[in-house]
Symmetry: D5
Subunit: 120 residues, 10 copies
């Protein structure tokens, strides 16, 4: 995935400890780089804030920028994780993209920070 | 969040050990400090009582006081946790606020006492 | 809660080991001691039998006896746990009472035997 | 429970390792030994096969044999577990019987092999 | 199960670490080798990619090849697992086949790589 | 059904025309006159008000009075209809009682005013 | 269908007019005359009583008598309708049998009294 | 209901014929005039536009104005209908308010324009 | 659609009047004539029998014959209707095919006999 | 709405009479002309074909063309109806657009051809 420039995710100073934030975006859409046809899905970000929280309005415009972007499922989810981590430096973060059926198959991608081997 | 004065949460003496109480408030509403528009959500408090239990009627009036209060999601949930902990000194407590969609995004905040780093 | 006399829960000898029994009573009703108005809920008992099992018919009449009894949620659930434990001496037991909304709030109480500190 | 003779559960040689099989029978029915009235429920068998797998057709006829058999919930579930274990010698097995409401109460019995003390 | 030749599952190079991919195929169908009648089910593959990811289009044609293949449930699920593992060499993988009711019974098979004894 | 005295349903003057009111009481309970065991169900009243509307608080106490009353399903529903009609003189009214399963059978009774032959 | 003798459906005198009774039996079971295997389904009776109502306990025993009776779906539903009509002489009646899947197909039969041509 | 002044519902010129518009507001809240406690519900407006359509943003502010208004269910629904009709002069309109449970009872009010006697 | 030869739908003599039969086949599958890829859907047949009923086993084999047949949605549904009408000469019949999503669009086709202009 | 040029909806000759076609597009998206933000919804077309049917692939590309088009809900639905009617000349047609919540309100627009006054 070529690093296309996307709007910045902004952050604001967090004043509490030990809590979790979950942002669910049921209206995610991007474009399949192979077919040029749109993809649809629900993107969910969960994280424990450290010194900063993701600013919701900037995150909304960040997500909107995928609308006409050609990007594979795996790259979209992994890039959103990387961009959230870079913006807010959370204790941990997890991004899930659950996409609608294409060709009779539904894909769901889940990426976690810090990146570690997982278990089923 | 400026410490606005809210009605006190009262407590009554607990006589059992090792059990959990869950209070679900599906009709929580407050006001967004930025836009002045109302927010809606479900607030859920879970805790293990130590020497005291949260008195339900006072908790209802405490929650009602958010109706015309300008408060961000994160602050509302974290303050409810702090106020429940101060009132009832539970063994542990957890407050979740699951808010309805705004701008196509749904936020859910979960805070736990005692405050500790969590894992995804 | 004054120890009102309730019908005895009977038991029959268990002949198997290492299994779990779950009894769900979706039609539990009692009376609020403050307002005199009826409360409704689902009471669920789970336990691993040791030498005895709870006899279902006597348990039904035991539960029916709450119908016109003034009792708080927490006391009802904790007393049912104590009475089940006394009757059947299970390896472990758990009683949950999930009550319908009152004043816009739903309460769920969960008590476990043996009584130990829990974690969220 | 007197050991009534039931049709044999047959087995066939397993050629894979480390996988789980789940058989759900939503149309289980037997007869209550006390009232003579029919009981209905869903019986679910889960197991990890060792050298043999449960043959489905013989298992179907085994289950059908309960139709006019007078048997208590606890005995039915525990006997099915014992008969599955005897027939297929699995690494582990679990049988659950979730029965429809009788007298306003729903019973669910879960038994596991090897038989060990459990925790809530 | 005789090793019938199936279309190859292709793979493409993975560039991220520590994430999980889930592919759900709700339209799986094959043929029962005993009766010649069709079977239907949902096949779900979950895995953590190592150096390669399963290419979705080739996987679709691989799954389509089962349409007129006589194969038992257990063999289908275990072979899909083996073929996914051979194609993509994942850190771990899990394949589940949840089949529709036949003779009043529903079968679900779950196989995991690496193959290890499991627990209920 | 002997005409047991029940609390009066009160009414207040209606100021609009051509609209419908629906009151749903999911927590109706009475006692079976044969067995003495409690019955549970959802009672729903729909009507078009003429000059009066049913006063909700008095209706709540009217319904509560069935709690320890021995009454058959058909009589309860038909009497509630008659009492609502007498209290509020609506253009039309319909009362439905949907009762929980007894002996594996669920009864639903629907009565309408004015009383006319109906069609399936 | 040979007229097998079934327990009588009893009736009791109706004292109201213009209302409807619905009895739902989710635990109906009979035997397929071809295969000898059990069938399962939900039988629903709706009718407007004239001078008599179906007595529920006798109806329960009437339905239980189908348990070991070999009968096709169409015959079961039409006979239940005829027997209800003979017992209670309702203004109208409708019997529906919704049977669980056999061979991947679900059958639902609906018969109405008085018997008239219908429309889709 | 004293005619409190509410923000105006605006309208824009309609250019199509014979179609229906449905606006669902799941976050309606007002205040009970008796108890001062908040009420919650879903308000749904359906109408066939004539020369004008309801302008959504002004309708949102109109609905928001109920937030701290003391008003009974029946009056809220009937007034919304009257105000929609006055603003947009539709061919027909229907307003439904489905309110959450209070005292164990749920109220739903449905008003239609033009105001005519209805049937169950 | 070229008239491919399909297995005959058989019929048996009907002995009742004025009732409806519904057969639901949730596992219908055929092949898209354009792409060669499989289509999936639920086919539902409803009809009022005249002198004959559709024989279920022959109908099952009739439906199975579509498995490897290239046929458009509209043609499949209309041909099933014509074949059912030819086999059983019903008073009326209706066939619905509800197909799973292809290219993000779901098609449902409903055909009725006798063929008449319909209304929305 | 300025008549933006959209891809043509093609048609193919219909060979059956008296049946209905339903096309559901759960992934419709366009752009709000006021805010520039995306709208999402499900568009459903139902019609009875006369001499022609809507060709699905061209309809898919027609719908895709709304993705970056600024258009109000009412205009989108009414234009889709007009374009479907122009392309296929159906006996009747109905287009519904059910849009996701914006500002706490959900809009659903339903337009019918031929255009006639409707009733609630």
């Amino acid at each position: 995935m070529k690093k296309v420039c996307l709007p910045a995710i902004e952050a604001w100073p967090n004043q509490y400890r030990g809590y979790e934030i979950r942002i669910e975006v049921p209206e995610f859409t991007s474009v399949c780089p192979k077919t040029g046809l749109p993809d649809f899905g629900t993107v969910t970000v969960r994280y424990e804030p450290n010194r900063s929280c993701v600013e919701l309005k900037s995150f909304k415009y960040y997500i909107l920028a995928y609308r006409n972007l050609g990007v594979f499922y795996e790259n979209a989810v992994n890039r959103i994780l990387d961009d959230v981590v870079r913006a807010a430096r959370p204790v941990w973060a997890e991004v899930t993209g659950a996409f609608t059926a294409r060709g009779g198959m539904r894909s769901t991608i889940t990426a976690r920070h810090p990146r570690r081997k997982t278990r089923p």
